[in-house]
C-alpha cells in the first residue's frame, strides 16, 4: 500500500514536476538533435558525408560496394578512364553485408546504375553480433529512408523505439560532424570519389594462413547476399563480384568465400579472384597491411580490374 501521508495534493504536484521535466528533456533533445541534423547534412567531407552522398546524391554509372577493402582499393578514376563511365566508391570501412544491402536499396530507389562491383572478402558472411552494431553509420539516414529501416532494425528488437530521441541517430558523431564541417578537413582528408587512400607500407615476409577454420555463417547475411544479386539481375545491372589481393599465402578455403563463389556461379555472375595474385604476393611494399593495399597498390589493382572489366564488356 502506498504511504497514507502521501495525499492527492502531493501526487498531483509530483506528477506535474515529472511532466515538466519530461517536456524539458523532450525540448532539449529536439533542439540538440535538430542542430546535429543540420550540421550532418551540411558536411562536405569525411566518411559521414560520403555515406550520405552515396545514398542520396550519386548518379554514377558504376558503383563499388563493400567494406574497407572496397573503400581503400578501388580508385574510381581508373575505372572511369577505362570504361568511359562515371564511377563512385560507396564502400565504407568496418561495415557488414547488411550495410551494402541497405545502400543498394537506397540507390535503387533513386536510379539504376549500369554496373556494380561487389567486393568479396574472407569471412564476409560470418555470424557476429558486432556486424549488427556496425550499422550505426546508417542511423542519421533512418528517418528519411524508409527502405533501409527494416535493415537498421536488425540492430536490436528495440531499435525503432530509440528513434523517439532526435539525438540518438547522431550518437557519438558530434566531433566527427564538427570536424567534417571545417574547410580545412576537406583539404586534409580528401577522398577520390569515395576512395580513401592508405599510406602505409608493409615490410614483412609472406605468412601462411589457414583460412579453412570453421565458423558459423549468418543466414540473414546469406539471404541478403542472394537478394543483392537477384535485385541486380532483375534491374539488368552488370554485376561483378571481385576479391582484391591479400598479402598472405592462404591454405584451405574460406567458407564465406566459397559460398559467394557458388552463388555467383548459380546466378551466372562473373567472380573475379585476385586473392592469390602473384604480383601482389611478391610485393609487400604495395600493402598497408596484409589485407589492404596502399595507394600504390590500389593504383595497380584498379588498373588491373578496370582492364578486366573492359575486356569482359567487350
Amino acid at each position: 500500500m502506498l504511504n497514507k501521508t502521501f495525499n492527492k495534493k502531493h501526487w498531483s504536484s509530483y506528477l506535474l514536476q515529472a511532466a515538466v521535466f519530461l517536456v524539458m528533456v523532450f525540448v532539449a533533445d529536439l533542439l540538440v538533435g535538430s542542430i546535429l541534423k543540420y550540421f550532418y547534412k551540411r558536411q562536405s567531407s569525411g566518411w559521414e558525408y560520403a555515406t550520405r552522398y552515396s545514398m542520396e546524391e550519386t548518379k554514377a554509372d558504376v558503383l563499388v560496394f563493400g567494406a574497407s577493402r572496397a573503400q581503400q582499393q578501388y580508385i574510381p578514376t581508373y575505372i572511369e578512364d577505362s570504361l568511359q563511365l562515371t564511377c563512385y566508391n560507396v564502400g565504407r570501412d568496418g561495415t557488414p553485408f547488411f550495410y551494402h544491402y541497405a545502400m543498394l536499396q537506397a540507390v535503387l530507389k533513386r536510379y539504376t546504375p549500369k554496373m556494380i562491383i561487389l567486393d568479396c572478402e574472407y569471412a564476409a558472411l560470418k555470424k557476429s553480433s558486432t556486424s549488427y552494431e556496425r550499422l550505426s553509420p546508417l542511423l542519421p539516414l533512418y528517418e528519411d529512408h524508409p527502405e533501409i529501416q527494416p535493415i537498421v532494425q536488425l540492430r536490436s528488437p528495440f531499435e525503432k523505439y530509440k528513434f523517439i530521441s532526435h539525438i540518438y541517430p547522431y550518437n557519438s558523431m558530434m566531433f566527427k560532424i564538427a570536424i567534417a564541417n571545417l574547410e580545412s578537413n576537406k583539404k586534409d582528408k580528401e577522398d577520390i570519389k569515395g576512395y580513401v587512400p592508405m599510406t602505409g607500407s608493409l615490410h614483412e615476409p609472406l605468412k601462411t594462413i589457414d583460412i579453412s577454420v570453421a565458423y558459423q555463417l549468418d543466414p540473414i547475411k546469406i539471404n541478403m547476399f542472394r537478394k543483392f544479386v537477384d535485385e541486380c539481375l532483375q534491374r539488368k545491372i552488370e554485376l561483378y563480384i571481385v576479391c582484391p589481393p591479400y598479402y598472405m599465402n592462404t591454405v584451405g578455403t574460406d567458407t564465406s568465400f566459397a559460398l559467394c563463389r557458388t552463388i555467383a556461379a548459380e546466378k551466372n555472375i562473373r567472380f573475379i579472384d585476385y586473392s592469390k595474385d602473384s604480383l601482389f604476393l611478391k610485393s609487400p611494399q604495395l600493402f598497408d597491411d596484409t589485407v589492404h593495399v596502399n595507394f600504390n597498390g590500389a593504383k595497380i589493382f584498379s588498373q588491373k580490374i578496370a582492364g578486366e572489366l573492359k575486356r569482359s564488356r567487350n
Binding site: M1, L2, N3, K4, F6, H10, Y14, Q17, V20, F21, M24, V25, A28, D29, V32, L36, E133, S136, S156, F158, Y161, K162, S165, I167, Y168, Y170, N171, S172, M174, F175, K176, I179
Partner: protein, 483 residues
C-alpha cells in the same frame, strides 16, 4: 540482463509498479520472485546454484545457533563454511589449480628429471562459474560468521533469507551486503517515499552515465591497446594504463551507483562501495575507499582474526595479516596468477606503509599540506595504475612485457582518430571534474542538489542530453560481472 539494457528497464518498471501495489508485508515475496527471474533470465540452468547456497546457509545458520556448546558450534561452522568455499573453488578455481599443478609437475619433470613426457590437463572442467557466485558465497559466509560470533541471530524466515542473498540489484556484483544491515529491512513495509525514490533515480542516472558515457568510451581505447599490446609503444601503454584505472573505476562505481539507486527506489539501503578512491593520499586510504563492502568484509572476517592471532609479533603480525589478506583478496577476483600478483602488490605496499607510518607522520609536519596531499594522491594513483596492469593483462608474462615497454618510455602515441581522442578526454574530464568537485567543493555549490527546482532539473536534463549524444550504447558488460 544488464542494468544498461532495455530488457532491464522493462523488468524494473514492471517490478517497481507491482511492488508498490502489493501490501507491505508481502513485498519480500515479490522481491524474491523478481530476483529469481532476474538471475534465471540469462541462464536458467545456473539458478539452482544460488538457491542451493541460500537453502544450505539458511539451515546451517539455524544449526550453528542451536548447537548449544562451543565445540559443536565450531564443528557445524567449519563444515558449513568449507562446503560453501568448496562450491566456490569448484566453479571458479578447479581449472586454475589443475593447470597450475600440471604445469608445475611438467616443469619439474623437464628441468630436474629431464623427462620429455608431460602430463596433460585431462581434469579440466568445462563449466562456466555462475554469475555472482563470489558475491553470493561471501555474503553467506559472512552471515554464518556473524551467527557463530553471536552478533546476529539466525534468520528463521527462509523467504527473507533467500531475498537477502538473491536481492537482484546486488546479486551479480555486490555490494557484499551484511545480513545485520539488510535482513531487518526486509521486515519493514517500505511505503513509497518520494525523496528516497527520486534520490535513487538520480543515482541510477549518474551510475548509467559513468558506465556508458565514461567507462565504455574509455574502454574503446584501452581495449584497442591492451588487446594488441605487443604492437604498441611504451608511451601508448602508459596512457592506456592510466585510462584503464579511470575505466575500471567508472565501470564498477557506475554499476554500484545503479545497484544502490535501484535498491533505494524500492526503499532499501545498500552499503556504499566507493568514496572517491582516486583521490586517496595513501594506498591504505585507497583500500578504505575502493570496493568498501569487500575490503571491510575481508577486514572484519579475515584480516582482524589473523592480526589478533599474530598480535605477539607486533608490527610484523600486522604486515603478515595485510599481506595474506590482500593476496587472498586479489585471488578472489579470479583464477589467474595476475590477480594473485595484483593482490600481493597491494599487500607489499601496505606493509611498507605500516613500517614507515611514524616517518611519514614526521615528514608531514615538515612539508606543506598541499605538497604532501598532492604527492600522496599522485603516488597512490601511480601505484594503483602499475598494479592494475596485472589486473588487466591476460597473463603475468603479458603484464611484465607491458611494464618493460612502459619503462622504455618511448615510441609514438597511438591516436586512432581525432574524434575518438576527443570523446576519451571528455569522458576523463567528466569523471575528474565530478570527483574534484565532490572532494574539495562539496559544500560550495551543488547542481544536482540545488535548492532551486529549475537548476536541479536543468542539470539532469543536460546530463541526459550528453548521455544521448556521447554514450556508447553497444558497449560491453560490467567488468566486475566476471568475478
Amino acid at each position: 540482463m544488464v542494468f544498461n539494457s532495455i530488457e532491464f528497464v522493462i523488468f524494473f518498471v514492471v517490478t517497481l509498479v507491482l511492488y508498490y501495489l502489493i501490501p507491505g508485508k508481502y513485498r519480500w515475496l515479490w522481491i524474491l520472485l523478481a530476483s529469481t527471474f532476474f538471475y534465471g533470465y540469462a541462464k536458467p540452468s545456473y539458478l539452482p546454484v544460488p538457491v542451493g547456497i541460500a537453502l544450505f546457509a539458511y539451515f546451517a545458520g539455524i544449526q550453528i545457533e542451536r548447537a548449544g556448546y562451543e565445540k559443536k558450534t565450531r564443528q557445524y561452522f567449519i563444515i558449513s563454511v568449507a562446503a560453501i568455499i568448496g562450491l566456490l573453488v569448484f566453479f571458479k578455481y578447479t581449472n586454475f589449480f589443475t593447470e597450475s599443478t600440471t604445469g608445475f609437475v611438467n616443469f619439474v619433470k623437464a628441468k630436474i628429471f629431464h623427462s620429455g613426457n608431460s602430463i596433460s590437463n585431462n581434469l579440466l572442467i568445462n563449466i562456466a562459474a555462475p554469475l555472482g557466485i563470489s558475491y553470493i558465497t561471501f555474503q553467506a559466509i559472512g552471515y554464518l560468521i556473524e551467527i557463530k560470533r553471536g552478533s546476529h541471530p539466525a534468520e528463521k524466515h527462509f523467504g527473507h533469507f533467500a531475498s537477502y542473498l538473491l536481492f537482484f540489484p546486488k546479486i551479480i556484483a555486490g555490494p557484499v551486503e551484511r545480513a545485520h544491515h539488510f535482513l531487518p529491512q526486509l521486515k519493514e513495509p517500505h511505503p513509497f517515499n518520494y525523496e528516497l525514490f527520486t534520490a535513487g533515480a538520480k543515482q541510477v542516472l549518474w551510475g548509467l552515465f559513468k558506465k556508458i558515457v565514461i567507462a565504455d568510451r574509455i574502454a574503446i581505447y584501452v581495449n584497442a591497446v591492451f588487446n594488441n599490446h605487443e604492437h604498441h609503444s611504451g608511451i601508448t601503454l602508459i596512457v592506456a594504463s592510466i585510462f584503464y584505472v579511470f575505466q575500471i573505476y567508472a565501470d564498477f562505481s557506475g554499476y554500484t551507483d545503479m545497484a544502490l539507486g535501484f535498491a533505494k527506489m524500492l526503499g532499501f539501503d545498500l552499503m556504499p562501495n566507493f568514496n572517491r578512491p582516486l583521490l586517496a593520499k595513501s594506498v591504505t586510504e585507497f583500500w578504505r575507499k575502493w570496493h568498501m563492502s569487500l575490503s571491510t568484509w575481508f577486514g572484519e572476517y579475515f584480516y582482524t582474526p589473523i592480526a589478533i592471532e599474530k598480535r605477539e609479533w607486533g608490527n610484523l603480525g600486522v604486515i603478515y595479516a595485510s599481506f595474506v589478506t590482500f593476496t587472498v583478496l586479489g585471488f578472489w577476483h579470479g583464477a589467474n596468477w595476475t590477480f594473485i600478483v595484483f593482490g600481493a602488490l597491494q599487500g607489499f605496499i601496505l606493509s611498507i606503509e605500516i613500517f614507515t607510518r611514524r616517518e611519514r607522520k614526521d615528514m608531514r609536519k615538515r612539508i606543506p599540506k598541499w605538497l604532501n596531499d598532492g604527492g600522496g594522491i599522485l603516488f597512490t594513483f601511480g601505484y594503483f595504475t602499475l598494479s592494475s596492469i596485472f589486473f588487466r593483462a591476460d597473463t603475468v608474462t603479458d603484464a611484465m612485457q607491458i611494464i618493460k615497454k612502459i619503462l622504455s618510455f618511448s615510441g609514438p602515441l597511438y591516436t586512432e582518430s581525432t574524434s575518438i581522442i576527443l570523446f576519451l578526454l571528455l569522458a576523463v574530464f567528466y569523471l575528474t571534474a565530478y570527483e574534484f568537485k565532490e572532494e574539495f567543493f562539496e559544500k560550495k555549490f551543488s547542481l544536482s542538489n540545488n535548492r532551486y527546482w529549475l537548476v536541479r532539473n536543468s542539470y539532469y536534463c543536460v546530463l541526459i542530453v550528453i548521455l544521448l549524444e556521447t554514450a556508447v550504447f553497444d558497449g560491453g558488460e560490467f567488468i566486475y560481472f566476471q568475478f
